[in-house]
Amino acid sequence: MELTQSQAEQLLYREALLIDTGRFADWLELFTPDVEFWMPAWRDETTTTQDPDRELSLIYYKGRRNLEDRVMRLTSGLSTASTPLPRAVHQVTNVMVTAQDGEGADVSAAFTCHRFDVRMNRADCFFGRYEYRLVRAGQDWKIARKKIILLNDTIPTVVDINAI
């Protein structure tokens, strides 16, 4: 069964809604246990790092377990940077199914995320592209890989998983 345009869009929109409304447990459910979650750093002005084992990433995790750690930290009340949580809203656009095969599909999209840091009374905007690998899981599709290419990578104090 092939991934339809509408299914791809609905999954990405749902992911954004779950993050923006702080439903992190449901958000984690969208990922496969062995998900690769990757936001590369920039090697120079025009290219991101390509090999996470030999080059630095802004975030690199193999395994949903690590995302669970991030969610725990974010919601624990033990992190000054995350308390209170900033308000954020993602716009996910330009959704396109770029490849299909027997096991899954590749999806490309663009994003902007507006974040309001209530602590500092400061609004920031982060933007870039997503590259997803989605795989079939029964009636649903799950995220087996998410690559976030953050275009404005001079980080104003902090960027966590809820603003990218």
């Binding site: 750093a41 090697r43 630095l56 995790y61 690590n66 725990m72 033990l78 000054t80 960027v159």
Partner: protein, 447 residues
């Protein structure tokens, strides 16, 4: 400025008192003087040699406000220039790093070779220039001072400074502990991370040397470590902290301490031991053979080094090189890299990178809790009802002149030292910062 130095730094050793006035973090006049006297008035760190390793390689940075181009020529000589075209002043090299036999100014095409010599002034003959113009040197202006200590490159906008070796003094041995981890030297892992925070640059200066904040600012990170300790698997990122008692409040006995050096350089350190959680572990035997056990053991210690005023090398969770760039009294830019010995195994490099990202990145789980705390400090600094801060007093009765049995192992001779258990968390090492600061800033103030 009508302030007196004693209004800002209250340093009375015989009374056991050391206090800092909040104004040094907020006052625009103080900030302006810091830029002139510290960042443009003496040695600052520019970069490491491997950023311009091959013929015609270059990288760009800043010394205070001054844009700097560090360029290697075709013969291999490394030089530092002010990164500005002598014609109209346009920034010449636009990118952080690259390779160029020639730099052509994009504004009017004046051209310079990789030794900084002017090679072309567009339409010079037709330009009807006077002799006065011809008498000028049209090449790139060298940075007045530029020197290389074991691959660490420093420059000074001020010409009259003590030689770099003298400025670094005993702190050269702290750089040796980094440089000697590989016979092939050091490199920066590809992927620079830059972040800003809305607070004064000296908050970063202090935080690197601050053992007191770890369990207070990073409990969420510590909880992640505890979870991982219980449930180790190939999927989770192993951390050296998991294998150390250093951060645990109940740890007993001497776990580390601090050393301070002339000119404001400081080290705080803790014992990690020779553990596989440190990527250098694969070289533990080899390094002991080459450098002796004392020096090898020091390479495995947790070490946070500051070379005053803008370089910090933190070897704790992983290995970070940071350059502090003050932008305004309440705004600082940090340029950060993972620094690593060349030639380590693929597995060790991967481990180093994974540990780095989790701890050091502004997208990670520890640094944001520091930088947000700096911003809280900056807001709190406006509370001048009581201008004096009390954060420079821990360790006052433990600080002694000279070194101790740990520094003796590598013939390191600090000006002062503190041996500490995990709860002492010395704050007297900041005194070295502010004594150097006061000595350099003194000319700004009334006697």
């Amino acid at each position: 400025m009508t302030l007196r130095l004693s209004d800002l730094i209250d340093d009375r050793p015989t009374d056991g008192a050391f206090r800092v006035n909040r104004a040094i973090f907020t006052d625009p006049g103080v900030f302006d003087a810091e830029i002139r006297r510290l960042f443009e008035g003496g040695w600052v760190f520019l970069g490491i040699e491997s950023q311009a390793a091959g013929p015609h390689d270059f990288f760009t940075t800043f010394a205070g406000r001054v844009p700097v181009l560090v360029q290697r020529d075709g013969e291999g000589t490394l030089r530092a220039f002010v990164n500005t075209c002598p014609h109209k002043g346009a920034r010449l090299a636009q990118v952080r790093q690259g390779n160029a036999r020639l730099h052509v100014c994009p504004y009017h095409s004046w051209t310079f070779d990789s030794a900084g010599r002017n090679k072309a002034i567009k339409w010079q003959k037709a330009g009807c220039y006077a002799e006065a113009f011809d008498r000028d040197d049209h090449g790139l202006k060298p940075l007045p001072q530029f020197a290389n200590y074991r691959g660490f490159l420093f420059g000074s906008v001020a010409g009259e400074v003590t030689p770099l070796g003298e400025y670094l003094g005993e702190a050269t041995k702290l750089l040796d502990l980094v440089a000697d981890q590989s016979e092939d030297g050091l490199e920066l892992v590809p992927g620079q991370v830059t972040f800003t925070y809305e607070a004064n640059w000296k908050l970063q200066l202090e935080n690197c040397s601050d053992a007191y904040h770890f369990t207070s600012a990073h409990p969420s990170y510590i909880r992640v470590l505890e979870r991982r300790q219980k449930e180790m698997s190939g999927d989770v990122v192993a951390s050296v902290w998991e294998n150390s008692d250093y951060w645990k409040e109940e740890a007993e006995g001497v776990g580390g301490g601090s050393y301070s050096f002339a000119n404001g350089h400081v080290l705080n350190w803790g014992v990690f031991g020779i553990t596989p959680a440190i990527p250098l572990y694969e070289r533990a035997g080899e390094l002991a053979e080459r450098h002796g056990e004392g020096k090898r053991d020091w390479m495995f210690n947790m070490r946070n080094v500051t070379i005053f005023p803008n370089l910090q090398i933190a070897e704790n969770a992983s290995s970070q090189l940071r350059v502090i760039r003050p932008i305004a009294p309440g705004l600082t830019e940090m340029r950060t890299w993972c620094i690593a010995p060349k030639g380590e195994s693929a597995g060790a490099r991967r481990q180093r990178i994974r540990q780095y990202e989790d701890f050091f990145n502004p997208t990670g789980m520890a640094t944001p809790d520091d930088t947000v705390s700096y911003e809280n400090c900056q807001i709190g600094f406006a509370g001048t009802v009581e201008p004096w801060l009390q954060g420079y007093a821990r360790g006052m009765t433990a600080s002694v002149a000279g070194g101790n049995r740990f520094s003796d192992r590598i013939d390191l001779q600090p000006e002062r030292s503190v041996l500490a258990d995990s709860q002492l968390c010395d704050e007297t090492l900041y005194h070295a910062y502010y004594r150097a600061w006061a000595a350099r800033m003194a000319g700004e103030f009334e006697a």
